[in-house]
């Protein structure tokens, strides 16, 4: 941190920590990395920064970063090769389990409720969703 | 190495007071002695530095040339003692640097002895040295009608050591933040008593004894409190 030259080679990774949030820090880190993966900012085979480097960069405990990586690994988004580092996994090898689908369904329901409450029609909602997905994956 | 680092720091912190005491003593002492050697001021009815035993050592009257000097020495010594005692043991506490001073990779005894050594050095180098100089000046034949007796030299030292009693009392007072009314006042009262006893001694050796016993008692108290970490 006190080096004169600061090398930020996080490959465009932008992770923001809000300590006052309800979510534990490691969840925040994991979520934001997974978002970056989803958006294609990180592609399969990319190496995530070493735990210590990210911890020093974000000024959080290295164990927290390790936890976040662990969580991502459990979700199948990353793979840790001992001695080498942590890499974004091959999308073909990712498995989603029932719990993941449940969370996804829950969140979709929340959005649909919101949309309908605003007075949107079914077709509008579907159109809106389609546009957003296209925009997201194009970034 | 570490002891020296603390000693240096303690000396540097007391330096302004040491310099002040030296300057005051030098200037006023010189003036005092000089005045007494001006022909108009010499009162030949009285012996100037009487070597006989019928001049009581601490008779602060005109009968001894030491009268004025004695007062000056006593005042400056007490002043320096008070200043150093407060600087070493009160200021750190109120400034909050006590933790920084005491959490050191040295034995706690070394920290205390560095402080006490600094005080001793301060007294000897400033007041002690100047008193020796002034006494030497007075001893040079042309300056005084009758050269001072050697005993006067030691009388001067009694006044200087009195300053150390006050220093010890101030130090002890500073170390007693818990239950402060008992220990703070005890130290100061004890010092007052010791000085009182000292003044009324007929013999020089008894005066010294009173002072040294007083200092010993106070330093034992200081050491106990310092090592007991009651503050």
């Amino acid at each position: 941190m006190f080096d004169k030259i600061r090398l930020i080679d996080l490959m465009g990774l932008w992770v923001q920590i809000s300590p006052g949030s309800d979510e534990p820090v490691y969840v925040q880190v994991a979520e934001q990395i997974s978002e970056a993966i989803a958006r294609g900012e990180l592609s399969s085979g990319d190496k995530l920064p070493p735990v210590r480097k990210l911890a020093a960069e974000l000024v959080i405990n290295p164990n927290t970063v390790a936890r976040a990586y662990s969580r991502l690994e459990q979700a199948g988004l990353v793979v840790t090769k001992t001695g080498s580092g942590t890499y974004v996994s091959d999308p073909k090898l990712r498995k989603a389990d029932a719990a993941d689908f449940n969370i996804l369904t829950e969140r979709m329901d929340t959005l649909i409720t919101r949309g309908l409450n605003l007075g949107l029609e079914q077709q509008d909602l579907i159109e809106m969703f389609k546009t957003r997905v296209e925009k997201f994956t194009k970034k | 190495m570490r002891f020296l680092a603390i000693l240096r720091k303690e000396l540097r912190e007391c330096l302004p007071w040491i310099v002040l005491a030296t300057a005051v003593l030098f200037v006023f002492g010189y003036v005092e002695l000089f005045e007494r050697t001006i022909p108009q001021n010499i009162d030949y009815r009285y012996r100037l530095f009487s070597p006989s035993n019928d001049v009581y050592p601490f008779d602060l009257t005109k009968r001894s040339l030491l009268a004025g000097m004695g007062q000056l020495l006593l005042v400056v010594s007490i002043g320096l003692g008070l200043a150093m005692g407060i600087r070493q043991f009160w200021v750190d506490h109120y400034a909050g640097t006590w933790g920084f001073t005491v959490h050191r990779s040295v034995n706690r005894e070394k920290i205390l002895s560095a402080k006490l050594t600094a005080a001793a050095i301060g007294f000897v180098v400033s007041i002690g040295a100047i008193w020796c100089l002034l006494f030497l000046y007075a001893s040079k034949a042309p300056n005084f009608y009758v050269p001072p007796a050697k005993r006067i030299f030691f009388e001067g030292w009694v006044y200087i050591v009195s300053g150390l009693v006050v220093y010890s009392a101030a130090a002890l007072a500073g170390l007693s933040t818990v239950r402060w009314y008992t220990t703070k006042i005890f130290g100061l009262a004890f010092a007052a008593i010791v000085l009182f006893v000292m003044v009324f001694q007929w013999r020089l050796s008894y005066a010294f004894l009173a002072l040294l016993v007083g200092i010993f008692v106070l330093v034992v108290q200081i050491t106990q409190t310092f090592l007991n970490r009651e503050f």
Binding site: F2, G20 | E13, G96, G99, H103
Partner: protein, 307 residues
């Protein structure tokens, strides 16, 4: 190397009749960053002073790096860094002089490069006198003086009190730097729970001199839960559930704060009281801490109408 860097048994300190630290039984393992939290006057500073051997305990004892606090040898003290409350340093010294002084006690282990780098990063010069520095700058010097000897155990007493966000971040970064070296441990007391959440592995909660919690941050975060319960009819006024810290009630809803109650038990209880639905809400650390240290069964500070 001892596995426990800090331990205390029934550590107690009375100031006259007031108890500042009350039978503290603590054990901190090596290699973690431990956040000491507690309300103002909870006894954090006194506990730290006791453990460093700067104060004599009334009852009990403590050990740092396996050595009794009252008998910390110079060798052990050399391995312990201490940042005092308020970053009090000798005002008459210059930064360079202070470095020389501090360095005299850590000859072989002093990292000169790190000290110089930190001063340069903070924009401070060795000629500046401490009395001319602002609080923030003094804190920075304090941090540099504490990190340069590469301590095995770093203890910081409320190091970020009154400091701006940038300097707070520097302190946290300093702790993280330190912790990444093998075998190092950091302990800091703080009111700023955001900082504690950012960097701590463990959390120790002290309330009115007593130990209320000593666990990993994750355990604490997972233990204190808020449960919102909705009822078809009126919400019950009397009920029982283990671990109840606090309860707010409106006509048809209950909001409970529970500690240590697992989700299965909550599920069972919800069925027993006939709840229509319930939701476990994640709390942030600050809210958890406030609920945890709130005085028992006292209401809110300001009066509100019963709904």
């Amino acid at each position: 190397m001892t596995e426990t860097v800090l331990e205390s048994q029934s550590l107690t300190k009375y100031f006259g009749k007031t108890v500042a630290v009350d039978h503290l039984n603590l054990e901190i393992p090596r290699g973690c960053i431990c956040g000491f939290v507690g309300r103002n006057g909870a006894g954090k500073t006194t506990a730290i002073k006791l453990m460093l051997g700067l104060l004599k305990p009334t009852i009990g004892s403590s050990k740092l790096l396996g050595c009794d606090s009252m008998a910390l040898t110079p060798v052990i003290r050399q391995r312990i860094g201490y940042v005092t409350e308020g970053h009090r340093l000798f005002r008459w010294m210059s930064i360079g002089r202070l470095e020389k002084f501090q360095r005299a006690f850590f000859q072989k282990q002093w990292d000169e490069r790190l000290f110089a780098d930190m001063l340069e990063y903070f924009g401070l010069s060795k000629k500046q006198k401490i009395k001319h520095l602002s609080n923030g700058q003094r804190a920075q010097v304090s941090l540099a003086l504490a990190l340069a000897p590469n301590p095995e155990l770093l203890i910081m007493d409320d190091p970020t009190l009154g400091l701006d966000a940038a300097i707070r971040r520097q302190f946290l970064a300093g702790m993280i730097e330190l912790i990444m070296r093998e075998g190092r441990t950091a302990l800091f007391s703080s009111h700023i729970l955001g900082d504690v959440e950012r960097v701590s592995d463990r959390i120790v909660v002290i309330d009115k001199g007593r130990l209320r919690a000593n666990c990993t941050l994750e355990q604490f975060r997972n233990s204190v839960k808020k449960v919102k319960v909705a009822f078809a009819d009126r919400a019950p006024t009397e009920f029982e559930i283990e671990g109840l810290l606090n309860c707010r009630r409106s006509e048809k809803e209950l909001e409970l704060v529970l500690i240590g109650t697992d989700s299965n038990r909550i599920n069972e209880w919800a069925k027993t009281v006939g709840a229509e639905k319930y939701q476990i809400v994640q709390m942030n650390l600050e809210d958890q801490f406030i609920e945890y240290t709130a005085p028992a069964s006292k209401g809110k500070l300001f009066r509100w109408e019963e709904i």
